[in-house]
């Protein structure tokens, strides 16, 4: 019978010093940042902060130096990410490039693509968004309809629409998953390809969508007879599905999958004071037990990725448990505290609570819905 692998990971020497360096930097940079802004830090787009982080060498930490990277370890990168999130740093501009698009270009891109984009990404100047979802292709990603057809001169003509594309209105690049061959109902994942496209290419229109909080993070992206050069193809034509699935492992395993509500836990600890009543103590204890366990699991997956393993089921478990926890926390906290009664109050606690109460539903949608993740886990258990 299959058992999941969550072997504890030993952090290498030098981590405490690295942490101190990061914390000193963040203390300086984030002084005066309002608590509510820290509450969902990887949704905050702040190009100036990303450039400062890039100047410190903290974007593309693990990439080869030849492409502007710093050749440090995957565990160091994990530590950097969790410190950024714990401090509520505004990492939304470069997050996708660092986590997902950069690694995809490193893995599947041509030498020219790597040299053209990665150094600017590592400097915190070029940002990337993910063009996967479409109006009729959400969890069922293989049903994307956006099409690229190759012209006789080698260029590609793209037509179709992407949606829920986070930060597309502020990024320079999109990696779009499109159909380059007609759908084969018997092999729906075949015939998909990835394209690396500059968003100022003629024929692309980006239209922001206002979310229920009133913010504009995600967008519709329209392609209308958009002509791109042959060298915009990322990786191999027809291999898009395989490339994307590899990317999803990276997307699912990080600390951002359980830490979204950490800011609220910290605010709860603050309002609780040193001598809370028994019920509040119990809640604080239970939440801490979950946070500690999730961090151990997330670290373990990071360790496996660092060793070159592919813990895709374990990553799905961490994301599902992590999302469930970070999603449940705002409701629990709202029900627990006197401070949660008047949501019109202008306090840090209430602002963080209000923000997370409303954003929490998205936690189990982005990066793979709960239902899809549980399907992956069920397959890991031998049930599918």
């Amino acid at each position: 019978m299959h058992s999941f692998n969550f072997e504890p990971v030993d952090l290498p020497a030098g981590i405490p010093e690295f942490r101190r360096e990061i914390r000193d930097f963040l203390k300086r940079e984030l002084a005066g940042t309002p608590a509510a802004q820290k509450a969902n830090s990887w949704a905050v787009f702040d190009a100036e902060f990303s450039r400062k982080l890039g100047a410190r060498g903290w974007i593309g930490l693990v990439w080869p130096k030849a492409y502007g990277g710093h050749e440090r370890s995957a565990i160091e990168r994990y530590v950097l990410l969790e410190e950024l999130l714990a401090a509520g740093a505004p990492v939304g501009a470069h997050w996708i490039a660092d986590r997902q698009s950069g690694p995809a270009i490193l893995r599947f891109g041509t030498e020219a693509q790597r040299l053209k984009y990665l150094p600017d990404m590592a400097r915190g100047e070029t940002y990337c968004c993910i063009g996967m979802s479409e109006p009729n292709a959400g969890s069922d990603l293989a049903s994307v309809r956006t099409r690229a057809e190759q012209l006789s001169d080698g260029r590609w003509k793209i037509n179709g629409q992407k949606i829920w594309t986070t930060q597309a209105q502020r990024c320079q690049l999109i990696i779009a998953l499109v159909r380059t061959r007609p759908l084969d109902e018997n092999n729906r994942q075949a015939g998909l390809s990835q394209f690396l496209i500059e968003l100022d290419t003629p024929g692309i229109q980006v239209r922001p969508i206002v979310d229920l909080v009133g913010e504009t993070h995600f967008n519709e992206v329209f392609f209308e007879d958009c002509l791109v050069e042959a060298d915009c193809l990322l990786g191999t034509e027809g291999e898009g599905w395989k490339q994307v699935t590899g990317e999803l492992s990276l997307e699912r395993s990080g600390p951002e999958r359980y830490m979204s509500s950490l800011a609220l836990y910290l605010e709860l600890l603050r309002v609780a004071g040193p001598e809370p009543d028994a019920s509040l103590k119990q809640a604080l204890g239970r939440m801490a037990a979950e946070i500690w366990t999730l961090r151990q699991m997330s670290l373990s997956v990071a360790g496996q990725l660092a060793r070159g393993q592919d813990p895709s089921v374990e990553a799905a478990i961490v994301k599902d448990l992590g999302n469930s926890f970070e999603q449940s926390l705002p409701m629990l906290v709202q029900g627990l505290t006197e401070a949660g009664v008047r949501l019109e109050d202008d306090t840090d606690f209430v602002k963080v609570l209000s923000y997370l109460l409303q954003n929490a539903p998205s936690f189990s949608l982005r990066g793979g819905t709960r239902e899809i993740l549980r399907g992956i886990i069920a397959r890991g258990l031998g049930l599918r």
Partner: protein
């Protein structure tokens, strides 16, 4: 894990797997003497005793491996209790007890010393396997200093009681019983007991999960195996994730205990395990339906143990209040740095 330790873990797994229906047999016929002899032959009670004291020199990772297997196969013996009692006796400088041993952490009474001889009068509550063991280790205060006592069961008046899984949890009363005792500086004995149960819980959770998976693949309704239904698959995915969380927490806490003070990690692991038991046992029974609710069917060997162990050595209230009090004292600004430091410190 060294080669020697891996061999030990393999031998233990074989022994427990081949023990068959030990839990059922213990319910019907009592103490499994032959199986206990084999446990002793493998040196399991000596696992945590250093090699230079005649022990095996294992660490908490080894303890976890052994007790995980004991939990998985529902072994009805004080395997973990004997390890702890023997370990504490060695640490207190007392002669290592032989035979089956157990521990008590809930007691009242008085230990008195007279020209080097110790006598104890009082009551030990909920002693695991109390009626079957030769010696019980417990800590009490004598003349203002903590002492470890080794109490002979033969001197006790035994009131038999059992937990939900029919595991003996006896009350032992002593009246001026001569005991071995030594002043000791043994910290966190209760935490060690909790860590022992956490390891057993990981095993029993896995057993319940595996049994449930096997069952839904076999049981057919509406013309197909019920495991083919998404509603069932999604429940088992949640169950599997809970089991994975506890396995991870247990291993991390064991590693921390091998390295030193691990109060926080043990508290978090036991609490997380208790939380998982609620989800795991209800799902296991839900997918089994009525058959799982019978005395004859083996699912209960896991679930009755899990329900019992959820209370033993700290229920949710105990651990969550202990953790919460500590965290509130430290305050919001030290939460994250404390959390990371625990893992960084060993680098």
């Amino acid at each position: 894990m060294s080669e020697h330790k891996q061999m030990l873990a393999d031998a233990v797994t074989r022994l427990f797997r081949d023990a068959g229906d030990a839990a059922g047999a213990a319910e019907r016929e009592g103490w499994r003497a032959a199986l206990w002899s084999q446990v002793e032959e493998l040196g399991l009670p000596l696992l945590l005793v250093p090699e230079d004291q005649g022990g095996v020199g294992g660490d908490w990772g080894d303890v976890h491996a052994v007790l995980h297997a004991a939990g998985y196969y529902a072994i009805p013996l004080p395997v973990g209790e004997s390890m702890l009692a023997t370990h504490w006796a060695g640490a207190a400088g007392l002669e290592l007890p032989s035979g089956a041993t157990s521990i008590a952490t809930d007691l009242e009474g008085e230990l008195s010393a007279q020209s080097g001889d110790f006598r104890f009068s009082g009551t030990l509550h909920g002693v695991p396997w109390g009626r079957h063991v030769d010696t019980i280790a417990a800590v009490t205060t004598c003349e203002g200093a903590p002492h470890l006592m080794l109490l002979p069961r033969a001197a006790a008046q035994v009131h038999q009681a059992q937990n939900l899984a029919f595991e003996p949890r006896d009350r032992l009363h002593f009246d001026q019983a001569p005991v071995l005792a030594a002043a000791c500086d043994l910290a966190s004995l209760f935490d060690q007991c909790a860590l022992m149960r956490v390891a057993q819980i990981t095993g029993a959770l896995e057993a319940a999960l595996h049994r449930s998976i096997d069952y839904v693949k076999e049981r057919k309704q509406f013309g197909r195996a019920i495991g083919k239904f998404q509603a069932v698959q999604q429940q088992l995915a949640v169950f599997g994730s809970e089991v994975a969380a506890v396995a991870c927490a247990a291993r991390a806490a064991s590693l921390a205990a091998s390295r030193g003070e691990a109060g926080f990690q043990i508290a978090a692991a036991k609490l997380r395990a208790n939380m998982a038991i609620a989800i795991a046992t209800s799902t296991a029974h839900q997918v089994h339906a009525a058959i799982g609710f019978t005395q004859e069917y083996g699912l209960r060997f896991a679930t009755q143990r899990l329900w019992s162990w959820r209370s033993e050595f700290g229920n949710d209230r105990y651990w969550s209040e202990r953790l919460g009090a500590q965290l509130a004292q430290r305050g919001a600004d030290r939460f994250w740095s404390d959390l990371t430091e625990r893992d960084d410190a060993v680098a």
